[in-house]
Amino acid sequence: MNKIENGTMVDFTYKNTKMKGVLVSSSEGNLNIKLMSGYNLLVPENSITDIKPLKTIAQTGGFEEKDLIFEHGPKKVAFIGTGGTIASRVDYITGAVKPVLNPGFLRESVANLSKFTLDISLLEPVLSENITPNDWILFAKTVKDKLSKNHGAVILHGTDTMSYTASALSFMFQNLSGPVVMIGSQRSSDRPSSDAFLNLEAGLEFAASNFGEVGIAMHQNTSDNAVALHRGVRARKMHSSRRDAFRSIGGNPIGKYENGSVTISHEARALSDETVLLDKLETSVALIYFHPGLTAEDLAAVTEKKRATVIMGTGLGHTGTRLYPVIRDIVGRGDHVLMTTQCLFGSVNMNVYSTGRELLKLGVIPLSNMLPEVAMIKSMHVLANYPDGEFSKVMLSNLRGETVDREFLGEVP
């Protein structure tokens, strides 16, 4: 019985019932058999009898090629797969989701594909939660290479850490000759209801338009009728599962795709003549979530070897006084402490309360309304690419729109 290979059609008896199906897999003592009715049955190996192999069913062919040009229309867009739900296909027998991409599938499901010629490049897929700064460098180099041959680029990416990658790429690219648009999906593309289709449609249009930033293109709301383009350094995933999880924090998206057409805000950066990549990152940066239970020892333990420490403080940028000695030590040894707010919305302002003023005196750098995650990544970028003496000055200057100068009064914070 152990000899029957997965993918074999079998006859068997289970609970006195003769059945027929394809053996899909076996694990932990259960056989997974797809019946002729389409249902998968999970049966304990020891509860079936008379299993008989009939014939082997060919496995479904996936898409194997890694790089190709997928020519349809005049607009040249690089199409870079890194993994994530959007670049996945389901295996209809096991239900497993494989990180591959089938151009045929794109043709069937992306309405505006005929306008574009895709320069497809599938990187070794990596789950977005496993992405590290090294991956950002690889992505950035790929983008730079591809932008030399295409108008813009879309990057397919898992949503979990998409905003981190978008921030990193934003800082790494001092100038861009074409738009870089990250696309993800919150519902996998094997589902008829996937958000991937509209996001892809919009992402291609954004990548063919004229702005020189790294953006994130995701559903603007829960309906399939609009896609927002968020500035990479201002976007955050604000819901674990909704298709409109991404929001531009403290401001409006820089672009929108609706009714088949793209609008780009005049606040978006213009294209440059050439792409300039600063591909160094200093990774010894800590991100600390301050809370009433956080002790000085905790802070000391994590920040010991860090060049910079970004604190997610409370309110306008505060921490308990119990942390002051550690902060003093960090600053004293020449490393940096930066303040952001765990509220996520709104700015730190360390002049309002005495706690803030004291922290400023200790040398803490107040990062206005920069998002904590963005502050961490910007620190990585600045530490690696600027003289240390300029760290504070560069952190406080608005390099890529990572701070919002004017926050408007929206309906909700």
């Binding site: 389409g38 295996d91 096991t94 239900g95 519902r187 589902r191 008829p192 209801s193 909704r242």
Partner: protein
């Protein structure tokens, strides 16, 4: 042609309580929440063998978009904005119990699947379904009918309307637990089908698990008589089952007769052309108004179909009209029924233009330039299928029992595992729990209600026939008083619904009953509390602290009894009603009786 008739049933029963994969109730009190509507599209994707499911391809060719009204009994899951929560263990237990009572084998692990459905009736584009039991049977007067499977699945959205290619659904029904019981094709005729449906249906209704709603039970009928399986969807009533089977039997019989006659017809001659100019001054109001709305009239010959479109026996006209309707057209008008519908003067022109040959019929249809090509292709395809007696398809039934073409049968491609829901091991403990609640026969239940709970046979039979057994059991548990529970169900609630003019929902009622149980309210107090709560909208917290609801006891109760005694002697028999006549506040009858004893010495 004289092949044996084989009939199978799929009986769908909605279970009441919470939905299958979330904490929403199966009942909805308001239609839409702040008029919130979600707009969505669904995209059919390739199945595992790289082929689309035919039903999916067909839906795709219709390119509709979908609007979903958000109801109070829907959450992010129904909006397809979060993964399913864990399986509702209560309904799983009931499904297993049902499977056992239908003599089914129960699976060792319940593994959910996604069944692709892209008519928009599921926001996800699929329906979650799992086999719970298989290979069972029921005894009928004509022998055993096999139960091939019992599945526990999500119900789909309720369709509200379709307009300009936009289909509107309500999310209220989406996710309601649905037991699907499929029989083997062991049923021999329409009477037998009705009997089988009745036997299975009653089992569940008596258990009191089904929703109290007109559409809580729906049947699909699988019918074949040698030309392939026809699936007739959504038969609401038992009488319709009968009519539908009879209709379908008759239909397939004349189609079988007609098939050799039609063989070899050149269907390519069916070619619509714009004939609008003939209808400028038409007397047909329908056509006139459609022309005014910018539509056109198209006409074509129907090769070889004269007399078969609406003859004594043959109804090819309906077969073609079914196709037209799927593409938003109102139907067709054909030569077997013309002149008629106000179309009379135009016929000469039509004949001149379309030039039907001998034996040819012709037809006109109101449609648009965009769609008419699709209709033409679909009609030709359908005529070819009918010519070949290639009859398998999904059909829909009208209230009168006539059936109409709906879409091709779905293929096997459309199912794959739902990985978001871990498979559930059916342990012995679960089986045991399921056995405990196993549905009983009506007689068993009546006897049990009377003996165990001491309620009258008449009340018991009303509770059973209104499928409120489970509700009764719940209320009894909460109140600790079977008579009071009966009264609440049979009198208090109907009265309250009368007063408020709206249904009293169980989740709304439960907190009041819980207070009643905890505070040992009697009938009067409980009914007064229900009045305050449902009619006067007093918040529960205020209610239980209100003076009216404050228990009277101790010295206060004693004073009252002494007062009553001074008016006229009290005794254990008269004391309770006499106190009741004085105050509507709760009191402990036991305490009152004790006090009477004390006073009387």
């Amino acid at each position: 042609m004289s092949s044996r008739v084989m009939i199978g049933l799929e009986i769908h029963i909605q279970l009441a309580g919470k939905k299958l994969f979330c904490d929403c109730t199966t009942e909805s009190a308001i239609e839409t929440v702040n008029g919130k509507v979600i707009e969505r599209r669904l995209i059919a994707t390739t199945g595992e063998s790289g082929k689309y499911d035919p039903a999916a391809v067909y839906e795709k060719s219709r390119s509709r978009s979908f609007n979903y009204s958000v109801t109070d009994n829907s959450c992010l899951l129904e909006a397809d904005e979060e993964p399913p929560h864990s399986v509702n263990s209560d309904v799983l237990k009931k499904a297993i119990s049902t499977a056992l009572s239908l003599n089914c084998q129960v699976v060792d692990r319940v593994a959910y699947m996604r069944k692709i459905v892209i008519d928009g009736s599921n926001t996800s584009g699929f329906q979650r379904t799992a086999i719970v039991g298989f290979n069972g049977y029921v005894e009928t007067s004509r022998g055993k009918v096999g139960i091939s499977s019992l599945c526990l699945e999500e119900d789909s959205c309720r369709k509200l309307e379709e307009h300009n290619g936009i289909v509107s659904y309500s999310l209220d029904r989406l996710g309601v637990p649905l037991m699907e019981i499929a029989t083997d094709p062991d049923i021999v005729d329409e009477e037998h089908a009705v009997e089988t449906a009745e036997i299975i249906g009653k089992k569940l209704l008596l258990a009191g698990w089904a929703r109290k709603a007109p559409d809580a039970i729906r049947q699909d009928v699988n019918f074949s008589m040698g030309h392939g399986r026809v699936e007739i969807k959504g038969v609401p009533k038992l009488s319709t089952i009968k009519a539908a089977i009879a209709y379908e039997k008759e239909r397939q019989t004349w189609l079988a007769e007609l098939s050799p006659i039609l063989k070899g017809t050149n269907w390519g001659r069916l070619k619509f052309q714009d004939v609008s100019h003939l209808f400028r001054n038409t007397k047909s109001k329908v056509i006139a108004s459609n022309l005014k709305a910018g539509m056109n009239v198209y006409g074509t010959v129907l090769p070889g179909l004269a007399g078969y479109l609406k003859g004594e026996k043959y109804r090819m006209g309906i077969e073609l009209a079914d196709v037209a309707k799927l593409f938003g057209s109102g139907g067709i008008m054909h030569s077997d029924e013309l002149p008629g519908y106000g179309v009379e003067d135009e016929i000469k022109g039509l004949v001149e233009l379309l030039k039907p040959g001998k034996g040819d019929g012709f037809t006109i249809i109101v449609s648009t330039h965009k769609v008419i090509g699709l209709i033409q292709d679909a009609m030709i395809a359908r005529l070819k299928k009918l010519e070949e007696l290639d009859l398998p398809e999904t059909r829909v039934v009208t209230e009168e029992g006539t059936t109409h073409y709906l879409r091709p049968l779905p293929g096997g491609e459309r199912m794959y595992p739902e990985t978001d829901v871990p498979s559930i091991a059916v342990e012995e403990a679960l089986l045991e729990a399921a056995r405990k609640i196993s549905p009983k026969s009506e007689e068993e239940l009546l006897a049990q209600l009377v003996s165990e709970f001491g309620i009258s046979k008449q009340d018991a039979s009303v509770i059973l026939s209104t499928t409120q057994l489970e509700t009764f059991q719940n209320y009894n548990l909460i109140l600790g008083d079977s008579k009071l529970a009966t009264r609440v169900i049979l009198q208090a609630i109907p009265e309250m619904e009368n007063k408020t003019g709206r249904p009293i929902s169980i989740p709304d009622l439960i907190p009041v009953l819980e207070e009643a149980g905890r505070r040992k309210w009697d009938r009067q107090i409980l009914e007064r509390a229900m009045d305050l709560y449902f009619v006067e909208h007093m918040p529960l917290g205020d209610l239980i602290r209100s003076d009216e609801m404050k228990p009277i006891g101790g010295n206060e109760l004693k004073s009252m009894i002494i007062l009553l005694h001074n008016e006229a002697p009290v005794n254990p028999k008269n004391i309770i009603p006499r106190i009741r006549s004085r105050t509507s506040r709760p009191f402990s009858p036991a305490e009152a009786l004790a006090l009477v004893k004390e006073i009387l010495g």
